[in-house]
């Protein structure tokens, strides 16, 4: 007997996508002055959802000007208790509209509704609530008696967690008294534009939050604008380098959250079934479009075969398909370009001699899809063990001793996250002291909380987001 789950699609009637959107500048949606247009599509169906602006340099200048004015006249001088009220209001409206935002995120991004509903949206609201609480307590944050905001923050965010990355950027910036110009990713602009509506709904003073859409060129105009005091970027290491070069020699403060190639390290005494869940969650959560994804599985050689058998059995159960179906585990790859990159690197993995295994799941005819894939027999020399694939592809390597595990885990230009699976508490602490990664998870993976700082070592970037530490990036300290 087989238990077939009937389709259980989440209704889309709650979202109202306009045929086109302007730019959100100075509290209102405006037509572009010198921009172009780009189309945003549903990656699960390839249908065009809406047309948005690719903002030009004059659009960018108008947004920065509005942010500067709001900083000088309203937001920068407003007492923290008052700023907090706006942030709490925004957080509550996000909760009230969370189903709408979750559905829209899934349509525009391709991630499963279960994830946008149960992970993204609760974290988005939690981030605003958390930083609302800090707004009137900055004197007690450990940055001096009266820490000052920086001014205008230029924020550029990626497409993997569109609304969550917006929250990570905007909530601390506003709590500290800065105003922002934020550019969402070109493939996922829609939830940011609904967030602009939420700012209006919350009566946020005009110019405090400005949302300009566009691709890399718009982002470049934004971060190079001379009246920007602070740049916050989350995205690829390659673009991060360009931004660092552009900001060099200017007064602009810079925080970067870039790529990763995290090691998920499993010892022979690990709780096996939960380790399997953690590995699956580590690499297949959000189709592997996670900068801190556990894309390198380092398994103690003595349990390699047993673990791989259990892992493949579990991966075979993953349900790939319609992201709006409440039972879907793996959604669509966000774009044709990203799918191409995943395919290319996977082919290189095969050419280099690693053994490829993909889950035996049928792929839909339309849209961008990639089956959950595991490469075994991978060595440190293989490109799939070194380069960020940013897709549902796991590379499996082995180790013999804790020392070797640490050496291999650290043998990467990145250093965003790592996972340790063992029943020995002392070994967890020993490993965590030696792993050069911003986040080290023990017997879990991909856990996020607004009170916990997040950020990278080495080429994974600098600065921390979240927690008390996240305030520092938006204060003149």
């Amino acid at each position: 007997m087989t238990f077939e789950y009937a389709p259980a699609p989440e209704s889309t009637s709650i979202v109202d996508i306009r045929p086109s959107y302007g730019l959100f500048i100075d509290g209102e949606f405006r037509d572009s002055i010198d921009g172009d247009t780009i189309k945003t599509i549903n990656p699960a169906t390839e249908e065009v959802l809406s047309e948005v602006v690719a903002a030009g340099p004059r659009d960018v200048a108008a947004a920065v000007e509005a942010a500067r004015r709001a900083y000088q006249t309203v937001w920068g001088t407003m007492p923290g208790t008052e700023r907090a009220k706006y942030l709490y209001r925004i957080a509550r409206i996000i909760q009230e509209r969370s189903r709408e935002l979750a559905v829209l995120e899934t349509i525009d991004n391709g991630k499963p509704i279960r994830e946008s509903r149960d992970v993204d949206l609760p974290l988005v609201a939690a981030h605003f609530f958390y930083y609302a609480g800090w707004a009137d307590k900055l004197s007690y944050a450990g940055f001096g008696p009266h820490p000052r905001p920086l001014g205008v923050a230029a924020q550029v965010i990626p497409w993997n967690f569109p609304l969550l990355m917006l929250a990570w950027k905007i909530a601390p910036a506003l709590a500290c008294g800065n105003t922002v110009v934020l550019k969402p990713a070109e493939t996922t602009p829609l939830t940011a534009l609904v967030f602009a509506e939420i700012c209006q709904q919350a009566d946020l003073p005009p110019g405090v939050v400005n949302i300009i859409t566009g691709a890399g060129e718009t982002g470049r105009h934004l971060v190079e604008h001379p009246d920007v005091d602070k740049i916050a970027f989350t995205g690829s290491t390659e673009v991060g380098r360009q931004i660092a070069r552009a900001a060099a020699g200017t007064r602009k403060r810079l925080t970067l959250e870039l790529g990763g190639k995290a090691a998920n390290i499993v010892f022979d005494d690990a709780p096996l079934d939960q380790a399997v869940e953690g590995i699956v969650n580590g690499i297949f959560f959000n189709q592997g479009h996670v900068c801190c994804a556990g894309s390198r599985l380092l398994v103690q050689e003595s349990i390699h075969d047993e673990l791989l058998t259990a892992l493949k059995r579990r991966i075979s159960l993953l349900r790939l398909g319609d992201p709006l179906d409440k039972n879907t585990d793996i959604g669509a790859i966000n774009s044709a370009a990203q799918l191409e990159r995943i395919r290319a690197l996977s082919e290189i993995g095969e050419l280099e001699g690693a053994e490829r295994w993909s889950a035996p799941c049928p792929l839909p005819d339309r849209g961008f899809w990639f089956p959950p894939t595991v490469f075994t027999g991978v060595s440190q020399a293989h490109r799939i063990a070194r380069e960020e694939i940013f897709g549902p592809v796991l590379s499996v390597l082995t180790f013999r001793t804790p020392e070797e595990a640490v050496a291999k885990a650290n043998n990467t230009p990145y250093g965003l996250s790592a996972g340790i699976w063992t029943e020995k508490g002392s070994r967890i602490l020993w490993m965590a002291d030696r792993l050069r990664a911003g986040v080290v998870w023990a017997n879990t993976f991909n856990k996020f909380d607004p009170s916990s700082p997040f950020g990278g070592y080495k080429e994974s970037g600098y600065g921390r987001e979240g927690g008390r530490h996240g305030l520092e990036a938006y204060l003149a300290v």
Partner: protein, 317 residues
């Protein structure tokens, strides 16, 4: 150096008390936080329309309709048996339940009413629910129930001995009861609410399976918490792993505290995505429950007719 002693065979190993400790504590541990998360995630599965209809009927077929009260009388048991045969008197297509579960003294009554229906008579035994009686008493209890016509025996393990680390004693008792069962199927109640940790649940599951259990069962229903999703998850992992190692399939029965159709569907999802579809059969998965059946019937009628019939339209027995 002394001469090397030959390695003991597995059969000898299990007869050595300290070997049980090595064996059970050598099982992969269970991370409670992770197990709870997995169970919670599976509880979000959305079972609708055709799959819901299929699952509700399956759940009815998996019910061990139970009455285990000091106040049980032949009249009460007779009513329960009638309910087991025709759960929904208005719908001839409604399936029968799997079994009726009673105390040993009620077995002959139940057997008489269920003769020829295919519905099994299950009896609790071995000084249920505490299991705190001499082995001879437990065996006599079991033999009496089997002699009275029980097809299935639901025994309790000696939790005191298990928690004290006397694993071989628990093993010997289960093996002895299994022998006393003859052809009757043996369900071993672990009483997970008293074992407290998921590591203990996994160890007790293995101990029971090696000793010959045909089913492992969570609870007596007399101790809180009774069946929970994380506990059942760990037991389903245990039967899955045990079949992989030994080739022998063992059933699972959560019992106690499962009252709604929604709960039952969550358990079926757990079975489907943990042990696998081979266990989606009344021969391999059961619900120990009393009030669950009526909610299953109400949801079944709702799905067929589009409206709730109300509590007065399901029989109270």
């Amino acid at each position: 150096m002394t001469a090397t002693t030959p390695l003991p065979a597995v059969a000898d190993l299990v007869n050595m008390p300290e070997a049980w400790r090595t064996l059970l504590h050598g099982l992969p541990s269970v991370d409670q936080v992770g197990a709870e998360q997995r169970a919670a995630m599976l509880a979000t599965r959305s079972i609708k329309t055709t799959s819901k209809a299929w699952a509700l009927d399956l759940a009815i077929r998996m019910v061990d309709l139970t009455t285990l009260e000091g106040a049980d009388t032949p009249g009460k048991v007779r009513a329960l048996c009638a309910k087991a045969r025709r759960p929904d008197p208005t719908d001839p297509h409604c399936p029968q339940v799997a079994a009726v579960c009673v105390y040993p003294s009620m077995v002959s009554t139940a057997a008489a009413y269920l003769a020829g229906t295919g519905i099994k008579v299950a009896s609790v035994a071995t000084a249920f629910p505490s299991g705190q009686a001499p082995l001879e008493v437990k065996l006599a209890d079991t033999r009496a129930a089997v002699a009275a016509g029980a097809d299935e025996i639901d025994m309790v393990i000696d939790r005191g001995a298990f928690l004290a680390g006397r694993y071989s004693e628990v093993f010997d008792q289960i093996a002895a009861v299994k022998q006393a069962c003859g052809n009757a199927h043996l369900k071993v109640i672990l009483e997970t609410g008293e074992l407290a940790t998921l590591d203990n649940v996994r160890r007790a599951s293995w101990l029971a399976m090696v000793a010959g259990a045909d089913f492992i069962k969570t609870s007596t229903g007399k101790v809180q918490p009774a069946a929970t999703l994380p506990v059942t998850l760990v037991m389903l992992e245990a039967v899955r792993d045990f079949r992989e190692r030994t080739g022998r399939q063992v059933g699972v029965k959560p019992a106690g505290g499962i009252r709604t159709a929604k709960d039952a569907l969550r358990y079926l999802v757990l079975v489907n995505e943990t042990a696998g579809p081979d266990w989606l059969d009344p021969a391999w998965f059961r619900f120990g429950a009393s009030s669950l059946l009526n909610d299953l019937l109400m949801q079944r009628a709702k799905l067929a007719t589009g409206h709730y019939s109300g509590h007065d339209y399901v029989t109270l027995d």
